[in-house]
Symmetry: C2
Subunit: 274 residues, 2 copies
């Protein structure tokens, strides 16, 4: 089985893939350069599964991933989740003093997770966005004064130097990854279901929709709003609930929700990460 | 009166300030280099008012602004809002062909609003994040092959060339700005109130909180979740409702909400933008 992820080797995505495939045989991992390419590897059947970052405890959603799944028309489904601790390192090729750092490379999410650190230590450095953290680490090769923010593992793989550790703005930092496929997960008894919906633009409509969950005592483990991209102040909601879409109670909840929403899509059911 | 904004001249923030101060006399605008500096100009009394971008119809929230207001302990309040249409231009110093563009400069929000355009037209260009769109336009001076994404106004002010127009991923594009001060707005009869709150981690707690609004038929014009930054899957909610916090009905709603939330902060009441 082929599994796509945001490469090159050494990204946090690779750590998530390693965790996800522990004990699974016959896995071949396939690197892609950008998050959209990873997601598209399912629609264009390059891979059977793909692992993408979706949400971080400091910075929140990976907007591009959330928006692509909301708007996907190719039947991509979520079949799993993986959560890993995230520790960012400051990485360079040769030894460098902080005062000589003039440029910082990293993925936009990593930069945002280290925003306070960067503005305190390097208020005048140029910030360059890379497609992944490992790409950033590769980018410091033979560049004096240029540093990357990324995983320790990437520094080790590419033979770079770690100048500082645990530099994210909140020490306890986790990222949640989703496993995508053309089918979601089978019922395990300890499942979650991700849905997205929009509600009519009238007072109480979101309350009315959430009431379906509350009345059936369905636990909501996530709710997030994204712009509809059509009109300022119009939102699409991403909600994760406990239970599998094949469970009788979840089935009836989804049926009832249809009547209280303008648009409803089930992104998939999958086992809760332990 | 001094009003702080994200400079230099030519940013969309400057357009918002110009719109906000139309017909107001004795205004002195003060440029700051970063969004945190603009917000801090209220806490450290450098300005009486400040205008900051908060939400865009394509990309959603300006996370740094939302997070700073949620966590602010200096009593910053919202006293107004301004909404302006946003049209992004591709800007260079000298004429340049698309195939020769190797680097794109802009603010992270503008880059995200033009994500599809960039990946289609310039899949291999380097992306550099700047503190503002006008800073990006200034940065292309005498740099062949380097382009900026920013407002037409910035190109005009700094004598740069517009290579392409309306390049954002959705043509209809609006950004909402907030006016900050040490006091919020007086009652006008057509007001909004912004609040942030968190709810206990039990099933139905968000539903329960929103019920206070629904029962009193209070219209919610925005709801957004941000990570608590403490634990993955724990959120703080930003909600805008119609009405002024001095209105009897809003007063009673806020009182009741206190009992159903772990944390509740009123960010201010202010006239709805017309």
């Amino acid at each position: 089985m082929k599994i796509g992820y945001l490469g090159p080797k050494g990204t946090f995505s690779e750590e998530a893939v390693i965790k996800y495939t522990q004990g699974v045989e016959n896995c071949e991992v396939v690197e892609f350069n950008t998050i959209p390419e990873v997601i598209n590897c399912i629609s264009n059947s390059l891979c059977e599964e793909a692992v993408i970052p979706i949400e971080n405890s400091i910075e929140g959603s990976v907007n591009i991933a959330v928006d692509m799944l909301i708007n996907d028309a190719n039947g991509i489904m979520i079949k799993g989740e993986v959560i890993i601790p995230i520790s960012h390192c400051l990485i360079s090729d040769a030894p460098v003093e902080f005062k000589d750092v003039h440029c910082i490379l990293s993925h936009q999410q990593a930069i945002a997770q280290c925003r306070e650190y960067i503005s305190k230590k390097f208020p005048n450095a140029e910030i360059k966005a890379t497609d992944s953290t490992a790409q950033a680490v590769l980018g410091v090769k033979s560049k004096p004064g240029v540093v990357a923010i990324g995983p320790e593992r990437a520094a080790v793989i590419y033979g770079m130097r770690i100048i500082d550790r645990d530099i994210q703005d909140v020490k306890e930092n986790y990222t949640r990854f989703l496993v995508l496929s053309q089918k979601d997960g089978v019922v395990t008894g300890k499942d979650k279901t991700s849905i997205v919906f929009s509600v009519p633009n009238v007072p109480g409509s979101l309350y009315n929709a959430l009431g379906v969950l509350a009345n059936k005592k369905i636990n909501m483990t996530k709710i997030e709003s994204r712009p509809s991209r059509k009109k300022l102040g119009e939102y699409v909601f991403w909600v994760d609930i406990e239970g599998h879409r094949e469970d009788e109670i979840v089935k009836s909840v989804l049926e009832e929700l249809k009547g209280r929403t303008d648009f409803l899509k089930v992104l998939g059911s999958y086992p809760k990460f332990k």
